[in-house]
Structure formats: C-alpha cells, structure tokens
C-alpha cells in the first residue's frame, strides 16, 4: 500500500515538473494582425496588437485567434461600422485559425524557413479549411511566425453593402506577425 502511494506521488511529481530542456509549446498574446481591404475607391486596413498564438513544436499544432473588437482602422466611424454591421463582434467576437504544420521546421536553422499549415479558419461561427503559407524564424528568445492569406467575406456570411457604393472589398488579405515565446508550465 505504501509503495503504491509512493509510486503515485513520484508520478505526480514527474507530471508536474517535466524536463525543461526543450520547450515544446510557444505562446504569445500580443502579436500583430492586419486585415487589408482593397476596394476600387478605397483601401484601408484594420490592425490589432492582440493576436494570440501558440505553436507546439512536438505535435506541430498551431492555434491563433484575435478579438475582432480590438481591430482599429484608424477611423472611429469605420470601426463602429466594422464591429456593428459587418463583423457583429458582440455576437461573434473572434477570428481564429487552428491547424497543424504540414512538415516540421529545423529548430537549428538560421533565417526564415518556409512552412505550410493546414487547418480551419473560423469567423462568425463559420469554419473553412485552408492551407496557409508562412515563415518561421528561430530566434534566441523564441519563434517569429509570419503568414498571409486571403479570405472572402461572403464565405463567412458577412453582410457587405452591395447597393450604391462598394466600400469594402470582398477579399480581405490577412497578415500576421508574432513572436512566440517558450511556455514553461508551472
């Protein structure tokens, strides 16, 4: 009885204090994301410094999300139209992408390495599978991840004005730039 208790305690200690030689999970909640709308008469972008991201180098899993209410287009009128009319951020607060690296990257290599991830991009409770190309750069303090891809607003049931003026492009280019830091579990 005593032996089994001791074994359980050792197991608990093993789980609670894993070996920290290689960080497998990299995180940050203050990455940069921009949504660029290029319409014939008007180009503008909504930016946020609140992109949250995670990359697990062991499993290849990646996960990113942003609170869409934090997007700033530089004009309050446009911001409120974006939040209230197009994105409806009170009902659908997040844009998110969860997926897996299609191939591992070399943690020893210098410079930016091209990677692709396949997963689901979700906005307004609508999920679309996509493969996104990006880069990973191994830095001393962590991993810098950059990627860009395009989404069509109509794929996400966004009520874009189609009468009188086309102020908002149906195709939005999304750029992300985030440095992920090793996550040490407590």
């Amino acid at each position: 009885m005593q032996n089994s208790t001791l074994f359980t305690v050792i197991l608990a200690v093993f789980f609670l204090f894993p070996e920290k030689s290689d960080a497998q999970v990299y995180l940050n909640t203050e990455g940069y994301v921009e949504f660029i709308s290029t319409a014939p008469l008007l180009e503008f972008k909504g930016t946020s410094e609140n992109l949250a991201g995670m990359l697990n180098t062991e499993t290849g899993e990646v996960d990113f999300y942003v609170d869409l209410a934090s997007l700033d287009t530089g004009n309050r009128r446009r911001d409120r139209d974006m939040r209230q009319v197009y994105l409806e951020t009170d009902k659908f607060p997040f844009a998110e992408f969860s997926g897996k690296l299609n191939a591992p990257f070399d943690p020893e290599a210098d410079g930016e390495q091209s990677v692709t991830v396949t997963g689901n991009f979700e906005m307004r409770d609508i999920s679309r599978e996509m493969t996104i190309a990006g880069t990973v750069e191994v830095l001393e303090e962590g991993l810098r991840v950059k990627a860009n891809w395009q989404v069509k607003l109509e794929d996400f049931n966004i009520d874009r004005p189609r009468v009188v003026f086309y102020e908002l492009s149906d195709v939005q280019t999304i750029n992300i730039d985030i440095t992920l830091y090793p996550h040490e579990e407590d």
Binding site: M54, N75, R77, E96, P161, V164
Partner: protein
C-alpha cells in the same frame, strides 16, 4: 496516506488536462468595456438630433425633404406637386465628440450654423447607461417676405435653438431617444410659417421622443413624437412622424410620413403641424452620407 494518494491522482489529472489544453488557447476577449455604438445609424432621427457623433475627420452631408400634405390625393400626387421644403447640411467632425455644421432650409430661406457635442457615452461593460449630447443652432431667416406689408431688419430675423439628446440602446434592436428642446425667435408673425396666432410668442419648448426598432441588419422602423409648448398662446403643438431607415453602408436613407413641413430644430418646435385624421401629413425623406476625409 489515502489522502496523499487522492491529492496525487488529482494533481496528475490536472497536469494531464493542462497538457490537453495546450492544443488550443483559451479564448479570451481583450476588449471588455467600450462605447455603445450605432444607437441610431446617423446624426438625425427623422428630424430630431441624435447622440450619434461624427468621428474626427468625418464629413457628414444630409439632404432632408418634406413635401406637401397627402390630403388631395392624386390631384397633386399626394403632395409631391406642392414642392418640398429642403434642407441641405454639411457637418465636419473636429474630434470624436465635437462637430460643427452649416445648413440651409428652403422654408423661409433659413441659414443655420451650429455645433454638436457628445458629453456622455453609454458603455458596454458598465459606466454610463445613456449617451447624451448638446446641439446648439443659430439661424437667420433670409426670405424677403415681399408678400407682407412689413419690413424685417437683420435683428428681427434671428433664431436660436438648443437640443439636448439623451439616448439608450437597450439591445441590438431597440433604441430610445429623448430630446428636451427649446427655440427662441427674435420676431414671429401669424402670417409666417411659425404658428403664432397672438403674434406674441417668441419662445417654444418641447420634449422630442424617438425610437427605432431594427427589423434586420439594414432596416429599422422609426417613430418620432414632438409636443411643443407655446408659452404666450398656452397651446401645445404636436408633431408625429413614422418612418423607415435603410442603411446601405456609407448611406443612410430615411423615408417617413410627418405632420410638419419643418426640418430644422427651431421650426420643428415652432412651425404648424397638420392633423393625422385630416390626412394633413406629408411624405418626406432624408439622405445621409458620410465621408472619411481625414484619417
């Protein structure tokens, strides 16, 4: 010992769960408390001023119309043949709370100059439960009044009005607007559009009420009721209007039926109103357009 085992197993389970959670980040909102937006889609609600401010660098243009009464039916095409009172206005936002406007109404050829300031903002996550603003307008009647055997000097043509809109967005669909208003004229006349049978009233006051109910993301039903009191005549004039708002992104179209031909604040309080049961109401519409001219 058993207790230690239970604690240890709990810790293991917690640790395992923690590993699982790492597959996806926990979703957390970063914006918890921000201003309630688009309580009304534009700075005008039929005729009333709303609490919707312009943004800094925004140019807002509106053109408002009120046609003749519908009582003659097809003879004058339900009032459209009688021509419209038309008010053009241009407003520019210097900050996200302060804007200045100028306007011109065809009825009595009135030129307006004024400002709008939002001093209280309803918040989503606590704070003020309402938004409140002030709109002050100075006007000058420039009609030559050639039909009158009277002359009007510059100082007899002035008017001043104040509106204090207070609004609350109760939910995504329903918004309410209460607008205490007052207007003063330097001179009135029973033969002009300002209803003043005793030719003595120069001050008018009322409380405008407005609300909108969204039918869908782009269409709302709107209603306006403005009782206004004439202090010397001791009478109350009542304006009622019912309409629809259409938002098209950039534009807001407002169509309505109203009992008054008035379009600016002072005339909304002072000008005459028809009775609905006599079919003395009119068709009108506003076109509101915003431009971002300074980023």
């Amino acid at each position: 010992m058993k207790k230690i085992s239970v604690i240890a197993i709990s810790l293991i389970l917690t640790a395992c769960l923690a590993h699982d959670v790492q597959a996806q980040l926990e979703r957390e909102r970063v914006v918890h408390n921000r201003p309630v937006e688009l309580t009304f889609p534009t700075s005008r609600h039929i005729n009333l001023n709303t609490t919707e401010p312009l943004s800094a660098g925004e140019l807002y243009y509106s053109i408002m119309h009120a046609f003749g009464t519908v009582e003659n039916g097809i003879t004058d095409f339900w009032g459209l043949d009688q021509g419209a009172n038309i008010r053009f206005s241009l407003e520019y936002g210097f900050t996200d709370r302060f804007s200045v406007f100028t306007a011109r109404s065809s009825m009595d050829k009135v030129y307006d100059l004024g400002f709008r300031y939002l001093y209280l903002q309803q918040m989503t996550g606590g704070g003020s439960p309402v938004s409140a603003g002030v709109v002050l307008t100075a006007g000058l009647m420039t009609d030559d009044y050639s039909f009158l055997d009277q002359s009007y000097s510059f100082s007899e043509r002035n008017q001043l009005s104040i509106s204090l809109p207070v609004s609350r967005k109760f939910n995504d669909k329903f918004s309410l607007l209460v607008v205490p208003m007052a207007a003063a004229f330097s001179r009135t006349n029973p033969f002009l559009r300002i209803e003043d049978p005793l030719d003595t009233d120069e001050v008018f006051a009322g409380i405008g009420l407005g609300s909108r109910y969204k039918l869908n993301n782009r269409t709302s039903v709107t209603i306006q009721y403005v009782p206004s009191y004439r202090f010397e005549n001791e009478t109350t004039n009542q304006n009622i209007a019912l309409g629809l708002d259409f938002e098209t992104g950039g534009h807001v179209f407002q169509i309505f039926f109203t009992t008054s031909r008035a379009l600016n604040d002072a005339y909304l309080l002072a000008a005459s109103n028809g009775r609905i049961d006599d079919y003395a109401f009119r068709f009108g519409f506003n076109i509101n357009r915003s431009f971002v001219i300074r980023e």
